[in-house]
């Protein structure tokens, strides 16, 4: 412990510490001090003493209420979290259960309830005990530091207590037959660092050493010879028991990792006999859009087009999407600019041909068959037709009322 007196600081009385011999005498002393009406005082014993709470006049702890509050917040919060995430913000069906399915939520609710109740107990205890507190003027008493957790019983009355008067408190304590009475001092009116220098140094060194571990580990891994196997933190993920592409499987006699279909079976969704619908052509002939073109289909087509196509072809289909523009600005040597939907080649192509282009890609354009469903691809085709109309419409494409209105406006 640092020797305060040698530092030439002004000291003031922080409180009076009295040592007692055993449990009975400290209980008796506590009752006497309680009856005098002191508020800022405490007892320090090596073990919990039954009956100390009433002897000190302590009220029932607040902890149960904090725990209850924590539990309620945890329970309601856990339920609300699951309701919001799974049923509202990102509706997602799990195991065919309803989006908001209380039985499935109960285990989480249970866990969050227990978690926050436990937090309430632990942190509530810390706060009520004014923890963490790394320094207390009591630590300057050698007798206290050595005895309070070993075999001695202490009562400490703080000078801040409104009833505190040094002489009278000393008199009171002496009347209780203590082993000893000690004055505890603290530095006056000065911010006292709660952390003693030794503690700060020890903690600092430990934290410093811990912080060094990750960079050292990374440096070591980088400096290592490349031929040696790398460090595997999670070997189960690095070495999975699976068939790698282009490698033989030891499990089957024919050595093939990828299995063929069982003869005479068709995979689910694999019976695509209507080639006009699924491929866009019957034999050598391209087909027309097999879906009924209505507003719903066009809306769907617009949505999909804006998601998948517009980045290159542009929202208006004129081939000036952000990627195309940027590639042109950068003068990318291998960039083939996307066509405008109103380009004559696109205009003249049949529906089935456009469908085929979306499915399999063309030139730089990748194949979208795996990403966009068949129905959506036809919807995009229909929307592309609408985009073309928007640039190449003639009067006779309009409904009759609209045509008359335009003619009238033109005459004016």
């Amino acid at each position: 412990m640092p020797d305060h007196s040698s530092r030439n600081k002004k000291m003031k009385l922080h409180g009076l510490l009295a040592e007692f011999k055993d449990v009975d005498s400290i209980l008796k002393a506590s009752r006497a001090i309680r009856d005098k009406g002191f508020k800022k005082w405490d007892t320090h014993t090596p073990f919990p003493i039954h009956g100390m709470d009433p002897a000190m006049g302590l009220k029932k702890s607040l902890i149960p209420k904090i725990v209850l509050g924590g539990g309620l917040i945890g329970g309601v919060g856990g339920l609300a979290l699951q309701w919001w995430t799974n049923a509202v913000d990102y509706p997602w069906i799990v195991s065919g259960k309803p989006l908001f399915s209380v039985p499935a939520n109960i285990p989480i609710v249970f866990e969050t309830t227990v978690l926050l109740a436990a937090f309430g107990a632990v942190f509530g205890m810390f706060i009520l005990n004014n923890l963490p507190s790394l320094y207390n003027p009591l630590f300057s008493s050698k007798n206290f530091v050595q005895g309070a957790t070993d075999d001695k019983f202490f009562v400490y009355i703080e000078a801040q207590d409104p009833k505190f008067a040094p002489d009278r408190v000393r008199e009171l304590l002496e009347s209780l037959n203590p082993e000893s009475i000690e004055e505890i001092e603290e530095e006056e009116d000065e911010w006292v660092p709660k952390l003693s220098p030794q503690m700060a140094w020890t903690l600092g060194s430990i934290v410093f050493c811990l912080v060094l571990i990750p960079p050292i580990y990374i440096a070591r891994a980088q400096a290592k010879d490349r031929n040696s196997p790398r460090v595997q933190l999670i070997p189960d993920m690095d070495q999975q028991p699976r068939v790698n592409a282009q490698s033989a499987s030891p499990i089957f006699i024919d050595g093939r990792g990828m299995r063929n279909y069982v003869q005479g079976t068709v995979a689910r969704g694999g019976a695509q006999t209507d080639t006009g619908y699924y491929v866009g052509a019957v034999g050598e002939t391209w087909v027309d859009n097999p879906l009924k073109v209505d507003m719903a289909l066009l809306e769907r087509g617009k949505e999909r087009f804006d998601i998948y196509c517009a980045l290159c072809h542009g929202f208006d289909g004129l081939g000036k999407g952000p990627i195309a523009t940027r590639a042109a600005n950068l003068r990318e040597p291998n960039w083939v600019p996307p066509l405008s939907m109103t380009d004559s080649t696109v205009l003249e192509r049949e529906d089935g041909h456009l469908f085929n282009t979306i499915t399999n890609g063309i030139r730089n354009m990748p194949a979208y068959g795996d990403q966009i469903s068949v129905e959506d691809r036809w919807a995009i085709v229909a929307y592309v037709r609408a985009l073309q109309k928007s640039q190449h419409a003639t009067l006779k494409d309009l409904p009759s009322e609209e045509r008359e209105r335009l003619l009238k406006e033109g005459q004016q």
Binding site: P48, H50, G51, P64, L68, S95, G96, K97, P103, A104, I106, P107
Partner: protein, 400 residues
């Protein structure tokens, strides 16, 4: 303080013989009325046997809970519970009475358990697969083993504890601790299989490995509720005034609170896994309990068996006012009884819950016999184990 205990107030005295006589009379009248009354119902005598099984499982659970209590207190070298242990020992010894009462189930087996029906067995491949286990002779052998084990254990603890009253031998306590160690797994296994045999085999296709724990959870809870009521009543008769304090009620209340939650935990674990897995052979049992009026009963169990006792018992003051604790204990006993009714009945009563006066007559009748059995085993013995080395600790026990 042990010396101050008045010998007048620590044994049943004249209450014992009176209880024995009245209990037997009530028992015979109640059970006879229930049996005759059942012929006015659609199911005829089956209605009586089913009601009898519900009540048999109920009163058996009280003794099972008492046995578990004795075992756990010994193995934990518990000090607080010494003063309440003798009563538990007498209630536990009542398994011998339950063994006698099993006779009626033996007679009615053909109507209670559909797996005893040879016609059904001939057409039911699942039952044929289970036949090596689910057949009448082996069933009876198992029942003999269960009750044999329980009677041996309960008699051992009752005799040992009573013997200590005069011998004051602390070695006996150590011996009983030694026996309680293997006693716990043995009792756990026998109770598990007994609940499979007596209750779960009502639907011989259905299975749930947690079922035994479910029955145990209800048993333990019901036993503590019985204790709360019992001590409240005998203290009002002037018995054990000095020995049992509010601190003991508080601890009994804590057990009731803990096992209310435990029961809900186990009940929900069983329900949720089956509900989530959604496999027809498992869900069928719950579907029966969620249609035809039984869904109300299921939700009632959730509220009555968990939410209400939870909210009431979480309060400290409830556990420290004996009359209040006994009131909620009475409620818990009623819902525990209904829990067993809910387990036994839906296989036969489809489309309605249908609690009738037959069930109540049976409940009161068997209750009379059960209390008579308690009075028989209690006799003139002291209501607290006077020779237990931890008696002083228990008398002065205080909750921190």
């Amino acid at each position: 303080m042990a010396d101050k205990l008045d010998s007048q107030t620590i044994s049943l005295g004249p209450i014992g013989p009176a209880l024995l006589k009245i209990g037997v009379i009530v028992g015979i009248i109640g059970l006879a009325a229930a049996f005759m009354g059942s012929y006015t119902t659609e199911l005829k005598s089956e209605r009586f046997y089913l009601s009898y099984l519900v009540n048999f499982a109920f009163y058996l659970s009280l003794s099972i809970g008492a046995l578990f209590f004795i075992l756990t207190q010994h193995i934990g070298r518990a000090g607080w519970s010494v003063v309440v242990r003798r009563v538990a020992e007498a209630f536990a010894a009542n398994v011998a009475l339950m063994f006698v009462l099993f006779g009626v189930i033996f007679i009615g087996m053909g109507e209670i358990y559909s797996w005893t029906d040879p016609d059904r067995l001939a057409h039911d491949t699942i039952l044929q697969g289970k036949e090596p286990y689910l057949n009448t002779p082996f069933f009876l052998v198992r029942i003999l083993i269960y009750f044999g084990v329980w009677i041996l254990l309960t008699q051992y603890f009752l005799k040992g504890s009573v013997g200590q009253d005069s011998s004051k031998d602390p070695k006996k306590t150590e011996k009983m601790q030694m026996v309680s160690a293997p006693g716990i797994p043995i009792t756990a296994l026998t109770v598990t299989f007994a609940s499979f045999d007596l209750l779960m085999s009502r639907d011989p296709h259905w299975f749930s490995t947690i079922f035994g724990v479910y029955y145990f959870a209800g048993s333990f809870l019901a036993f503590f509720s019985l204790m709360a009521i019992f001590f409240c009543v005998i203290q009002s008769k002037g018995l054990l005034k000095d020995a049992i304090t509010v601190e003991h009620y508080h601890d009994i209340g804590k057990y009731m609170f803990g096992f209310t939650v435990f029961w809900a935990y186990i009940a929900f674990s069983q329900f949720m896994l089956i509900w989530y897995g959604n496999i027809p052979e498992e869900t069928v049992w719950y579907i029966r309990r969620f249609e035809g009026g039984w869904e109300t009963a299921s939700y009632f169990l959730l509220v009555g068996h968990f939410i209400i006792p939870f909210i009431v018992l979480i309060n400290r003051f409830v556990k420290r006012i004996p009359a209040l604790l006994a009131t909620i204990a009475f409620w818990i006993l009623l819902v525990h009884w209904f829990d067993l009714y809910w387990i036994v009945m839906p296989e036969s009563l489809k489309g309605h819950v249908g609690i009738s006066w037959i069930d109540i007559a049976c409940f009161i009748g068997m209750g009379g016999l059960y209390l008579a059995g308690f009075a028989f085993f209690m006799g003139d013995k002291a209501l607290i184990p006077q020779g237990d080395p931890r008696l002083e600790e228990s008398l002065h026990f205080k909750n921190a």
